[in-house]
Every structure is written in structure tokens, then in C-alpha cells.
Symmetry: C2
Subunit: 459 residues, 2 copies
């Protein structure tokens, strides 16, 4: 039987294992952002190692200095090509009031799987794992390595260090990342670029305890008011245009080929707005929306800490406050350089504010075309019966730039999530349609990649 | 024995009752702002009625449509002058992390009384009550009525309606309010004016669930960013100058007599900053500080709701956000007129923002001088051995303007709190020094007031 001949039956048989394993993994709250979840994150890594071992793969826990990472897989013949499959097993916090189920309780409703991390990124990780296991069982001449990070949601602060320490990992010929999102259900996307990100916290203290705004107001400095003024000076709230001096200096203008790919992607503004439940948009022009999402930088305010948030209005002045902000960056903006511009601007506006970076991810853009892009195209067509759109993606994956630079290998994106799955959102979900099609696509991708001639390098 | 002869001994003997009653009242969390405390507020009113009855005073619970109010006292002879003593028995929330004790557990440490409401305003209320009881027992020819509000901290929304329904209350010849703060320990203040207040909530919804800032950022509208921009456009965060068009139009310039009173008040900037634990001030010039606190309006941001406030930075865009703001107002700013200016300005800046008033209090300024001011001066000198400073106060007491207008009676301020007692702040306290001196001052004030000839009015 050929590699692909018995695949459908295999996938159907895999479903109970897929659901059981996804459920077990989702119920470990691997919230990398929350210091109180440190042990849970490590426990999640342990569960993943258990899965690899159960499939007779190698599996190694790698210490990074932060949360650990997991590497493993099947490396059977040094002469074969090697692919590294990247996913992350940490998740976002799940404190949104809109959750209608326990976020860390896995539940299956028909073909849908609910719980924090189902789509971002535990479901895609297990999809790739079960596909690889099948390919290996069918004796495909390809070494398949998994690299599962547990700090993706906090900007991969120890990823480069972890990679250096991951002695088990061979330098691969290519990398495939499964952590991106389609344009819509039935509209696969193969991104060839990601935005970067720079997160920062601004803090200001003007007193050591809360003050009465009647007794002190007019003389007491209000840290919330001052922070609001400074962050408001960084962006035009309505247009989204960033007003930090020099912010756009390094932005590379979007090329004609990119524009053409975007326009033929099939992206629809109304479907985008509906998928993300956005009731109001800054712009509705299709080309402008795609350009803004995929190729322009942003400045967002994510939260203010400090002050009164209960019912009504408590007229007191908080002693200290914090503003949480981030900027999505595009080629060729360097996060460290942008942070310098930002900090310099904030200091000029208000020298008492402390500015701390809270994660930096460089933007990434690969070349369009080439044999790996062709493999991806065939894989997605085989898995889902549809041609993928080659677009960029607005999100950021910190590990991508690090892997591309370390291994000088192409990084491809075989994502399986749908916009309505709710990346980072309440009631996150994944579904069997994407998982089963994803297994087909991954097996096909592995087959294609196993045939791409590789340059032998001294390892 | 004269009225004042046995007073010191009486006060010493009253201490156990004062402490027991204050403790019992403090331990009822009468947080008027919190809908969940509705029954506690009512229970607090019941405790207060019990105290009045135990002293053989009349006591009536008055329904207002909101939290009830309590009226009662001793009206023994219609020919005598009548004074109404105003206090409030509701308190601020106590959610500040700086509390080192349970806020609603009363504790006595030497001469100090700790707990939410000890100084604002339960301690002063009971001080006035026990002083009045003594004066009545000594047969002072004065009718003394208590008016205890339970909605002061939410801007007295039902006070005017409550007054209309309080049939037991006679229209008094004068009113004394005990809810203000001295310049410092040993520096009594007799304010002759209060700032008004206008609180408002701004809300904006741009989506029905949280969005991923990578997947939607640049196109999704960010309600926190938009609210921050709008409230930042209302005030210069560093100078405090309000930038709402027309905001200062009705402000009456400060007169020469006011300036002179301020300058001779003994107010000290360093002591003020220390008492409120302010480590940074907008200005330090003494005259400028007093003018800003007592005679200039403000615009404060008290809190932003919506967005992420946990550890680190979660790079999501909230679906909705709220900004809580307030403005202190000075004569002759009308809160309703200022609210119109504010709402018009916000709508111009961002028509999608909903603006709701959350309480309006008119500013108040009495004339300097006259027999009641003289009575107050004598009372504070008798109680504490110091001349009071006649100043204004930066805080607001909603009931004051309502009482002054309804009864056409002078409203005087015999406050007993010290800046370090922590109005609205964590670790609020009161002390026996202020309570015992306050009882002396109130007895003396009642004596003085009983001698002021009153115009007989048709009641």
C-alpha cells in the first residue's frame, strides 16, 4: 500500500487517541505568562514527552533558564532529509468573563473541541505528531523532529538559549511551523511572513497610598492621567497611525508581488470582521484592511492597572499605575531599535515614567516561491481540496526568526486554525475537520519534503 | 453646675460607650457604592437608630428611593432655636491592597481607632451625638436634630427626595456639618466652602469579544486606546489645566478676602504632602497649592475597566472599555452645565463613546463672618485650645447645597478629621484626641448657638 493509500482509514482510527490526548493536554493549564502556573507548564511538557515515548519516538526535556522546551521525534538515517516541526504547548491566560465553559476543562461537542489551547497550539501540535507517526510507520525516508516550545505566548525569551542546549536536535533542512490561521473555513492560507512584536510596560508612582481627589486634587499628580496622556501621544486612536518619532523609518514599502498575492487571496472584510466578532472597524476597504493587518505596524494599549474598577465612580487618585502596550512590527523594523525610540519619546514626554520592555519578536518575511512553498501548496490541496493563499500573517511567532537564522533553513507555515477558533479569545476551540484534514496535509507535506534534494552539510 | 463645668468628667466617662458604639458601627460595611452591600447599609441605619433610642431620642428611618436616611434627636420646645447636625454613615469601598488590617474589623491601638469609616464619618457622627446628649441632659435650651445620610459617598442622589419625606425634621435655624478635615493635627480648620463634583463614566464597545492584536491589529478599533485619547484630550496631565472648551467660563475669580484667609491659615505644603503620602506634586508654591486645592476645578481619571491587568503583557484588544472620571467644581460652576459641555466635547471627539453622569454635586461657598462663624471659632478654641483657620475645602458634600437651599439656613462645618486619618484611603483611622476635643467643641458650639437670636418663621 502506498503512503497515502491507507491514510484516510488511519486518520479515522486515530480520532479517539487524538481527542484523548488533546483533552489531557488542554486540561494542564500551561499559562506561561502566569508565574503561579510554572509547575503546570512543566507538567504540560511532561505530558508531551509521554506522548512521544508512547509513539516510540525519542523525547528530551530541554532546560532553557525559563520554561523548558520539548524536543524529540524519529531521526533514523543521517542520509535522509530532516524536517523540524515547530509548535508551542503554552497557552494564553483565560480570564475573560465571556467564557461559557471552564477554560481548562476539555469538552467535545460533535466535531468541536473546546478549551484554552485547543487551537493555539495544542491541537495543531498533536495533528502534526500523529501525521508524522503515520509517515514514520510507513517508512517514509525523512527524519522528523519536533520542537515544542513552552514560552511562545510570552515572546520566546529563552528560545535561542534553549536551542543551543538542545543537543538532540539536528540542524534541519527545513522547518515547518503549525501555528497560523486560515483566511476562513475552506480558505487555507500559507503565510510567508509574520509581524514582529514589542511589548512594554510603563509604570509611574506619585504617592505611597491612594489620595482623596477632593482633598488633594489639583496638586496631587495622577499617575493614570499621566500614563493615559503619554500612551495617547504614541498613536492616533482613530486612524491607528503611530506617532512615535522615527517609528516608520525602517518600514520596507510593500512590493508589487506582495500586493498581488494579497489581492488574489480571497480575503473578505465582512468574513474577517464576523470571525473576530468586530462590530466596528477602522477601515473597510479590502486592500487597506489586508495591508494594515499583514504589512503595517501598530501600537495598542492592552490594559491600565491602578485606580478603581468596581461599580460606579470612586473619586480617588491612585498612588501608582501601569500601562501595558505593544507594537506589531513589520520588516525591517528591529524591536530593540523601536524600543529605544519609544523609550526616548516617553522619557521626553514624562521623565518620571519607567519603561520596561516585556518581550521583543522580530518580524519575518520569507521569499515567495521555491520547492517548499510548492510542497505546502500540494499538501494543503491534498488535505483540504483547496489551493492555499500565500499571504502574510499579522501575528508573531518569536521562534521563527531564531530558527531561520540559526539553521539557515526555510521556515514554512502549515497552519490549521480558523479565525472563528478564537486565538487568545474566550471559548477557544478546534475541530476534527481541521485536525483530520491537517493530518492528511502533513503526511503529504512530509512526503513532498522527503523528495526535495538537500545540500549535505557538515553537521 | 454649669454646662461646661462637668464636661471633662463626662467625656472621660463616655469613652467606653464611644469606643463600643464606634466599633459596632464600623463593623457594618455600609459601602453605599457596592450594590452587594445594600442590606449592610440598611443594617447600619438600624444600628444608628438603636443608638438614638438608647439615648431616649426620637429616631426615624426615612426611605429615599435609594439607601435610607436616619433622622432623630431631641426637639423639646418649639420656642427654642433648632440646629440640625449632619453626618453620613455610609463609607467608601476598602479594596486597596495597602490595608494592613481587615478594613471592617474595628481595632483600638492606644488612642487610635482603625477601620473603614472611623474618621469618614462615623467617628465624628458619634462624637456629635454624645456631645448633644450631654447638652440635652444639662437642659440646654436648644433643639438638636440629627440627619444621617447613607448615600454621601455616591453623591447623595436621593438626598433631596429623602429630605422632603422626612416629616419628623423641623426646618432648622442653622446646620452644622461634621465631615471635613483640619489643616493638620493642632491646626483646626473651619471651611466656609466646598468644591462640587461631577463624576462620569465613558464606555465604548467595538467588538463582542476580545481580539488577537496580531490577527486584527491595525483594523480592529481598540476601545481602551480610544478612551485614553478622549480623556487625555480633556486635561493637561502635567499642569492639571482642564481643556474641555468652556469649562472655566463660570469660575468666579478668587476674591482678595479669600486669598487673605488662605494665606493666614497656616497651611504648609510639606505637611500636606506628608499627610497624604504624596511623593510628587504638580506645584509646590504655597499660595498656588491652596488655590488649586480649594478654589480651582479639576479633571481626574480614576480608573479604566477593560483590558488585561494580570502579570506581563497580554497582547489582546478588549471588546469594550470604560473610563471613570470626575471633575471637582468651584463656584459658580453648575454640574449639569459642565456635564453638557463635557458630553458635547466627547461626542465631538468620538461619537461612539457613551457618556453617563454618575453623580453631580454643586459647589458651595458661604459668606465669611457672622454669628455662626463666631460660634464655631469659640467652639474650636474651647475644644482644642486653638483658633481655627477659615479656609475652603477641596472635597464635596452633596447634601450641603440641598440643605442650604431648602432651609435658607447657614451651613457651618465643624470637622474633626486630620489629614493623616486617611479619608477614602487604606488604613483609615480616627483618634480619641479628636473625639474628646470634638465633644467639648460640639457642647460649646451648641451653647453658643442656643444664644443666637433666631427669626421666627411660620413652620
Amino acid at each position: 500500500m502506498s503512503l497515502l493509500g491507507g491514510l484516510d482509514r488511519h486518520i479515522t482510527q486515530s480520532r479517539p487517541r487524538f481527542e484523548e490526548w488533546l483533552g489531557r493536554l488542554v486540561e494542564v493549564p500551561t499559562v506561561s505568562m502566569d508565574p503561579a502556573r510554572r509547575e503546570d507548564v512543566r507538567r504540560g511538557a511532561g505530558v508531551a514527552i509521554g506522548y512521544l515515548k508512547e509513539l516510540k519516538a525519542d523525547a528530551v526535556l530541554v532546560e532553557t533558564g525559563g520554561h523548558p522546551m520539548v524536543v524529540g521525534g524519529w531521526v533514523r538515517n543521517p542520509a535522509w532529509p530532516t524536517v523540524t516541526v515547530y509548535n508551542h504547548l503554552d497557552v494564553q491566560p483565560a480570564m475573560e468573563p465571556e467564557w461559557t465553559r471552564e477554560p481548562f476543562k476539555f469538552s467535545v461537542h460533535g466535531d468541536h473541541y473546546y478549551g484554552r489551547g485547543t487551537t493555539d497550539d495544542k491541537g495543531p501540535a498533536l495533528t502534526a505528531l500523529l501525521a508524522a507517526h503515520y509517515a514514520v510507520e510507513q517508512n517514509l525516508p525523512l527524519n522528523i523532529q519536533f520542537l515544542w516550545e513552552l514560552e511562545e505566548e510570552i515572546g520566546s525569551p529563552h528560545f535561542a538559549k534553549g536551542l543551543k542546549g538542545a543537543a538532540w536536535l539536528r540542524s534541519p533542512d527545513s522547518v515547518v511551523v503549525s501555528d497560523t490561521i486560515w483566511l476562513a473555513g475552506g480558505r487555507p492560507a500559507a503565510p510567508y511572513g509574520l509581524r514582529g512584536n514589542l511589548a512594554a510596560r510603563l509604570t509611574l508612582e506619585t504617592a505611597t497610598r491612594e489620595a482623596h481627589s477632593g482633598l488633594t486634587g489639583g496638586v496631587a499628580r495622577n499617575p493614570l492621567t499621566e500614563l493615559a496622556a503619554v500612551v495617547s501621544a504614541c498613536v492616533n486612536a482613530r486612524s491607528g497611525r503611530v506617532t512615535i518619532p522615527g517609528f516608520y523609518r525602517a518600514v520596507k514599502p510593500l512590493g508589487q508581488a506582495d500586493r498581488a498575492q494579497f489581492l488574489k487571496s480571497g480575503f473578505q472584510v465582512a468574513a474577517f470582521a464576523a470571525a473576530h466578532q468586530l462590530t466596528k472597524l477602522r477601515v473597510r476597504d479590502r486592500a487597506a484592511v489586508m495591508r494594515r493587518l499583514w504589512a503595517e505596524p501598530t501600537f495598542e494599549i492592552h490594559g491600565f492597572v491602578g485606580g478603581y474598577t468596581g461599580p460606579g465612580v470612586k473619586t480617588s487618585i491612585p498612588p501608582r499605575a501601569e500601562a501595558k502596550v505593544s507594537m506589531r512590527l513589520v520588516p525591517d523594523q528591529e524591536p530593540a531599535a523601536v524600543f529605544s525610540l519609544f523609550r526616548k519619546y516617553v522619557r521626553k514626554l514624562n521623565p518620571d515614567i519607567r519603561v520596561e520592555a516585556d518581550g521583543m519578536l522580530r518580524p519575518y518575511a520569507a521569499d515567495l516561491g521555491g520547492p517548499y512553498a510548492e510542497a505546502l501548496r500540494k499538501a494543503l490541496r491534498f488535505g483540504f481540496g483547496k489551493e492555499p493563499a500565500f499571504i502574510r500573517e499579522g501575528g508573531s511567532i518569536g521562534a521563527v526568526v531564531t530558527m531561520a537564522e540559526r539553521w539557515k533553513a526555510p521556515v514554512m507555515f502549515l497552519g490549521l486554525s480558523l479565525p472563528e477558533h478564537g486565538y487568545h479569545a474566550p471559548n477557544e476551540r478546534f475541530d476534527w475537520g481541521q485536525a483530520s484534514g491537517g493530518m492528511k496535509a502533513f503526511v503529504k507535506y512530509f512526503e513532498e519534503v522527503s523528495r526535495i534534494p538537500v545540500k549535505r552539510r557538515v553537521r
